[in-house]
């Protein structure tokens, strides 16, 4: 379930990679605008031959379609091989509605968007049920559907093709000339790419990155993964539809051979070669793939063959494509010069310093305190009653009733396999209990998805390190915070980062990692990453925090830090439930202990009681089997 491959790289590489990342991510808004503006005027420039003007317009349309594909693929991790079909869909709708039914361009456009949206949403539902690789093949199958629909619908008329597609009119003027229409295309693509840029930066951009880095963890910190993926697929496909809408009037005539299967393949190549997950990737890729073959004067087969080989090599040696070349180049350059990277030294020092305990733990006023309301005081923070779940016939939880009082630090103990993590998983929505209820401050949480549970104020950490490895510490905390505020759309439109800065800085100070806020989290030591996990749970308004073995494998100094942080947060009003095997720490930290064995609660009381409880001792130390009646086995 929580499987995460270990990326073994040195701190230097991490810092530098992060910088490359940062450069792409935060490519200055004005920089992007300049590039886009340049594209805009491309096809309408003076002095171009008519063919070159057509080529420039076509390139722009491909940029838009590739940009949409990049959104899906590079950001949300969905491989679509049907982008060419959505492109074709746009063209066909425009062509059929105009030629056969004499609709205006604009109405036909609206219709194409509506149809495209429906198709995309239906496809997305099926896609999200399949894993990545099978879903990619599934989109190939979609192409078949499109091809069938196209031949079926278009052959409605006498001719196989649809000639005579007119260019649209704007404010009463028909954009008939190539230059005028080219400018129109430029404007539309510019706006389209602006939208793409907006979606891939700010809150949405961070959410996508989180999904790409560690999907289960993203889900657990409030990112509605399914929703984001569907939105990416929807908008990515619609980008292709719009591009297709503009294509039909550009060429004036389409027929079933206008949109071969190779179109989808070309879009994929554009994104991979250009650089997936990078804004410039689509632009570079589309330009290269469209223009280069013209220069080579080669047939489609030849250049696709060559591009195919380049893509294979790229996946081996340059997975970030052309846009990522700056990193590859920098790495080689650095290796050639053999000079230690000066820039990473401060990070390493900071890591070492923080590892040795860091600044003293203080409770900062900016740290959010939960005011226990009248209501909250009278009812438990959490109630689980009759919780049961079984895996493969074995009851992992058997009618478990555990209440967590507001403001306490509850220790949850039990031998391996007694159900501790399972109970937490049931409460936080990762596992669905067969029976029983989970009430948080009186509200029913049973069976809720992890991201909903997080947003309701229940946070958790995991046994194994689960974070967004290549993102900075600051960004990790930001992601944990952002999804609990506002709606998906308000987060797209407004980036209120500055409002949250104080809160994040407060938590960073609490755990003593302020100096490391800009370091990629993967470059921190194991114990520090565990502190970050705790920080992620503390940021935001969660009033109940589950810690699953927070001290496993952590050095003693940092354990002290963890303990102090928990105490401070608890004094500020947070309730904790801690699963730990480090008995000495637990007995000292917790006010109450619940012990599980074989999915049942066997003890509940203060540490002193538990330590002398015979049943608990038996559960941990074991029982003698000599007396057990042995049957025939």
């Amino acid at each position: 379930m929580m499987i995460h491959s270990a990326h073994q790289s040195t701190p230097e590489r991490q810092v530098e990679r992060n910088r490359g990342f940062a450069a792409a991510r935060y490519a200055s808004g004005s920089g992007r605008l300049l590039v886009l503006a340049a594209l805009l005027i491309g096809p309408s420039a003076i002095g171009l031959s008519s063919y070159n003007r057509y080529l420039a317009s076509l390139t722009l349309l491909y940029v838009l379609a590739a940009g949409g594909l990049n959104l899906m693929l590079g950001y949300a991790g969905i491989i679509s091989l049907a982008q060419g079909s959505f492109f074709g869909l746009g063209s066909y709708v425009i062509a059929i509605l105009q030629v056969h039914y004499h609709w205006s361009f604009w109405l036909a456009c609206a219709a194409s968007l509506a149809i495209g949206a429906v198709v995309a949403l239906v496809a997305a539902v099926a896609l999200l049920r399949l894993k990545m690789h099978t879903s990619a093949l599934f989109t190939l199958a979609l192409n078949v559907v499109f091809a069938l629909a196209a031949t079926h619908l278009a052959i409605g008329g006498e001719t196989l093709g649809l000639p005579g597609i007119k260019r649209p009119g704007l404010f009463g003027v028909t954009l008939r000339s190539d230059r005028a229409y080219g400018l129109f295309i430029g404007v539309v693509v510019f706006l389209g790419m602006l939208v793409v840029a907006k979606m891939t930066s700010g809150n949405w951009g961070r959410a996508f990155m989180a999904i790409r880095e560690n999907e289960p963890r993203a889900d657990a910190v409030g990112v509605n993964v399914t929703k984001y993926k569907m939105l990416a697929f929807l908008f990515g496909s619609l980008a292709a539809v719009i591009a297709g809408d503009l294509y039909a009037p550009l060429v004036g005539y389409i027929d079933p051979t206008s949109f071969p299967a190779t179109l989808s393949i070309s879009f994929l190549i554009m994104v991979i070669l250009g650089g997936r997950g990078r804004f410039a990737g689509a632009i570079i890729g589309a330009t290269v793939v469209t223009i280069l073959p013209q220069l080579l004067q080669a047939t489609a087969s030849v250049y696709l063959f060559l591009f195919g080989i380049v893509v294979v090599l790229a996946t081996l040696f340059a997975p970030d494509g052309i846009a990522g070349m700056q990193n590859v180049a920098r790495r080689w350059f650095r290796a050639a010069r053999r000079s230690p990277t000066k820039s990473s030294a401060p990070v390493e020092d900071a890591v070492k310093r923080a590892d040795q305990g860091g600044p003293a733990v203080q409770s900062r006023p900016a740290m959010r305190t939960t005011e226990p309301s009248q209501l909250a005081q009278s009812q438990p923070r959490l109630q689980t009653s009759g919780l049961s779940i079984a895996f493969g016939g074995l009851a992992a939880l058997d009618d478990v009733d555990i209440n967590v009082r507001a403001g306490e630090i509850l220790g949850l103990l039990g031998p391996n396999g007694s159900g501790k993590s399972t109970w937490i998983n049931c409460v936080t929505g990762i596992a669905k209990p067969r029976a029983g209820r989970v009430l948080h401050n009186g509200t029913d949480l049973t069976g809720g998805a992890p991201h909903i549970v997080w947003r309701r104020g229940v946070a958790r950490t995991f046994q194994r390190l689960e974070n967004f490895r290549h993102l900075t510490v600051y960004d990790n905390l930001l992601i944990a915070l952002q999804e609990s505020h506002g709606s998906t759309w308000s987060r797209l439109l407004r980036d209120r980062q500055d409002r949250w800065r104080d809160e994040i800085e407060g938590v960073l100070a609490l755990v003593g990692l302020t100096d490391l806020r800009d370091a990629p989290i993967g470059s921190l030591s194991y114990g520090q990453q565990k502190l970050c996990d705790l920080a992620m749970a503390l940021v935001g308004a969660s009033d109940l925090i589950f810690l699953d073995e927070p001290m496993a494998g952590v050095n003693p100094t940092l354990i002290q830090r963890l303990v102090e942080t928990i105490r401070v947060a608890n004094r500020a009003g947070r309730t904790f439930v801690i699963v730990e095997h480090n008995m000495k720490v637990i007995m000292g930290l917790c006010s109450r202990i619940v012990v599980l064995e074989n999915g049942k609660v066997i003890a509940d009381g203060p540490p002193s009681e538990i330590q002398s409880d015979e049943r608990v001792l038996e559960a941990y130390f074991g029982v003698d089997y000599d007396g057990v009646e042995l049957g025939k086995g």
Partner: protein
């Protein structure tokens, strides 16, 4: 009794910077059952995995039958006569019991004697005979464990490493498992067992080591460890 396995100052781990074991030492003699007990999360399983060559990195020294085996990979440990029964269910769910046994002898080249050994194993565990053709995924927990023990015997082991055999089993099944393991001692097979149920494990052992926080804790003859109050209290952090 000669020394079969010596582990000296073994440090091992899975993630860089997060060592699970720190300079652990222990010893197993021929025909001896040795228990590794201690609080959970203390690295007990890692000891077995490190010995068997399954941890990404380790330092220190491990001697088996006098030869240094620190750098030796899993399949060679099997050839040398070390078998590993890992935690949880480790079978091939869609293969029959017979096939699961067959694959257990994969590293052996002497096909004919393997067949004889398989027959011997059926004699030793007659409960497996009616299950020969049943798909392993349908077996109960206790039957799976019996299959795993039988399978381990097919490499003609001198030492069997067993990791938490009673995990997930009912008391009845656990009792049977411990009985079966104990019976192996009579054939001169040594067993190094990590077990949560310290009580049961100590009853069938000669010697025991406590591993706490990835390091050696107390050690001594199993009987003495079983009745020592200090050992019990350590389990609960007191």
């Amino acid at each position: 009794m000669t020394t079969l396995l010596t582990v000296e100052n073994l440090s091992a781990g899975y993630e860089r910077g997060a060592e699970t074991l720190h300079e652990v030492s222990l010893e197993v003699r021929t025909g001896q059952v040795v228990s590794i007990i201690g609080p959970n999360g203390a690295g007990k399983s890692t000891v077995l995995r490190a010995i068997f060559g399954m941890t990404p990195w380790r330092t220190g020294s491990i001697h088996f039958e006098g030869a240094e085996v620190l750098g030796v990979r899993t399949h060679e440990m099997l050839s040398r006569g070390v078998a590993f029964i890992a935690q949880g269910q480790n079978i091939f769910p869609e293969l029959s019991v017979a096939r699961n046994l067959e694959i257990g002898a994969y590293i052996r080249k002497d096909r004919h004697t393997v067949r004889q050994d398989i027959e011997a194993v059926y004699e030793k565990y007659p409960a497996l005979v009616p299950l020969r053709n049943r798909v392993a995924g349908l077996l109960s927990g206790g039957q799976v464990r019996m299959l795993e023990i039988a399978r381990a015997l097919l490499v003609r082991p001198k030492l069997i490493l067993v990791d938490e055999p009673s995990l997930g089993l009912s008391p009845l099944m656990s009792a049977q498992v411990f009985k079966d393991l104990g019976a192996l001692k009579k054939e001169g097979i040594s067993i190094l067992i990590v077990e949560q149920n310290a009580e049961a494990s100590l009853r069938m052992s000669e010697y025991a080591y406590v591993i706490e926080g990835g390091r050696n804790g107390m050690q001594g003859p199993a009987d003495r460890m079983r009745t020592d109050a200090a050992v019990r209290m350590a389990y609960l952090g007191a």
